[in-house]
Amino acid sequence: MSFFPIRQVTARVTGNDPVGEATFRLILSATDFPPTAAPGQFVMLRTSAGADPMLRRAFSLHDRQEGSLEILYKVVGRGTAWMAQRRTGDAIDLIGPLGQGFAIAPTLRTALLVAGGMGIAPFRFLIRSLRAAGVDMLLFYGARTERDLLELAEMEAAGVSLLLATEDGSRGERGRITELFQQHFRKVEPSEAFKIFACGPHEMLYEVGRIARGQAIACEVSLESHMACGLGTCMGCVIATEDGYQRVCREGPVFSAQRLLLDEISLAQD
């Protein structure tokens, strides 16, 4: 559990460009945002000037540079629609960094990444960190259609091997990414130097977690849950784990798949 500082800061929009179907990359300048942020952590953004919509929205740190941070987001409702309307120079109020990120042990040599749809968001930051640690990376990345597969060239340039799937077959294998994952995963040997990192729809995480668990392989999944505070105070975002209900915003969003009660995993999502 981290006790690094959390800050409420006013960030400035320096970029907010479409990168795919209703998907944008928001670049924020925020000099007072704590430098301690780690991959897998998230921020809570205010997405209105008034009280409707009222609650903040949670977004993974897509990336974090000195004095700036990035968010990769899809417009799915009113809050994200508000975000898509921000222009360079506009102010955005955010709180972070929040939650527990991915754990990268010194023994780690090979990382298997699994992303479904917008689950790709936290991976750029993670990939940069893994690369710095000299870890080999293989990414299973699935989406509905080719246009939803984001930042492929960038990830290849970062030395990530890609295995792609789309539901409509427009790029990579046709079908769900979990099918592709299951095929290839059979060939991998469990080892201390090996770990799976997954982010995406909860059904996908369930599948990946089940497979990893079956073979006692270290696996971390990043969950979503409706959040009021994002800070750990409201107890609203809990998910069932072997240690009882735990807060996705505080003990998570990254959880060891081993400790989740996978049958109940879908509950927190609704």
Binding site: F3, F4, P5, I6, R7, Q8, R46, G50, A51, D52, P53, M54, L55, R56, D93, I95, S225, H226, M227, A228, C229, G230, L231, G232, T233, C234, M235, G236, C237, V238, I239, A240, G244, Y245, R250, L267, A268, D270
Partner: protein, 312 residues
């Protein structure tokens, strides 16, 4: 308009508890303080109220537990908490180090259980007062059932009163026809202060799944949406009781806080706004001070109940 020069007096005394200012944080929206302490120095607060404590740890309700509504939210946490003993052992030491007042919000499944929890806290170093939550809409037994009935309210307060010498604050439910009746029942059995309002019972529906958005169906409505109701009830209650009132419900800024003081609250408590704007209690303190200066007041106490009503 008089502009006073020296800094106005912000401290208040409620139920014998002296607080450095009238801005508190509300139960269930501030955890046990630890998380918020990562964001700012909690000693700036008048007081903080911890999440509702019960005799034994509670797992709470199944998720989903929250959902957003217009200018508000519904919650059905179901009082997930670590239990009063773990609180005293694991959380109080941290809270004792903070130079602010700590109010322990408690609830029970029976009047006897309320008394038992109050009794355990009676000896606990670091608890400045007890807030009886007789108004939680999110548990089957206990909670709101007590706070919507005059006799039940009286009994809970009476037993808790016997169990502790600590200042006793009774937290009222807005889900009643006449809140002044319940207020008087609490006063009659020895409450030292009243706090209101708790959440309004509400519901939201996911029309695609044809299911309620909360697993329990109903939940408690909080946030700016309920502020007009809260303000009206604080106004009504403070006119019929001698007890100090802690006002809450949708307070998000200094202007809101001042409105509650004007209708009769002696202090205010910030709930849902802690989620949306964690620093807002601090801005409220500054804002109240600025208002006092601008209006030529020397003490925050002068605002309490200072509303001018035309005859109705």
């Amino acid at each position: 308009m008089n502009v006073s020069k020296s800094a106005p007096e912000l401290s208040v005394e409620i139920a014998g508890i002296r607080m450095k200012n009238p801005v508190l944080t509300a139960s269930g929206t501030f955890g046990y303080g630890e998380e918020m302490a990562q964001i700012y120095d909690l000693s700036q607060l008048g007081a903080l109220t911890v999440k509702g404590l019960s005799l034994r740890p509670q797992t709470g309700n199944r998720p989903p537990r929250i959902c957003e509504t217009p200018a508000g939210m519904l919650n059905s946490i179901g009082l997930q908490n670590i239990g009063v003993e773990a609180f005293v052992r694991d959380k109080l030491p941290f809270l004792r180090r903070i130079d602010t007042r700590v109010l322990a919000n408690i609830y029970g499944h029976s009047a006897e259980e309320y008394a038992a929890v109050a009794g355990i806290l009676d000896g606990a170093d670091g608890v400045d007062g007890i807030e009886l939550n007789i108004s939680c809409p999110n548990v089957k037994k206990g909670g709101m059932a007590f706070g919507t009935d005059r006799a039940e309210t009286g009994r809970v307060v009476r037993l808790a009163r016997k169990a502790t010498g600590l200042p006793l604050i009774v937290k009222l439910s807005p889900n009643v026809t006449d809140i002044t009746e319940i207020a008087r029942a609490a006063e009659g059995e020895g409450a030292d202060a009243l706090s209101l309002i708790n959440t309004l019972l509400g519901m939201a529906v996911d029309i695609d799944r044809k299911k309620p958005r909360l697993s329990r169906g109903v939940g408690g409505l909080s946030g700016p949406a309920i502020r007009p109701v809260a303000l009206r009830m604080v106004y009504q209650v403070s006119r019929v009781t001698e007890l100090p009132v802690i006002g809450m419900g949708g307070i998000v800024c200094a202007e809101d806080a001042i409105a509650f003081l004007l209708v009769g609250a002696s202090a205010v408590s910030v709930g849902t706004a802690n989620f949306v704007d964690p620093l807002c209690p601090l801005e409220m303190i500054t804002g109240i001070e600025a208002y006092l200066k601008e209006h030529g007041h020397t003490r925050v106490q002068e605002l309490v109940g200072a509303l001018e009503m035309e005859q109705v």
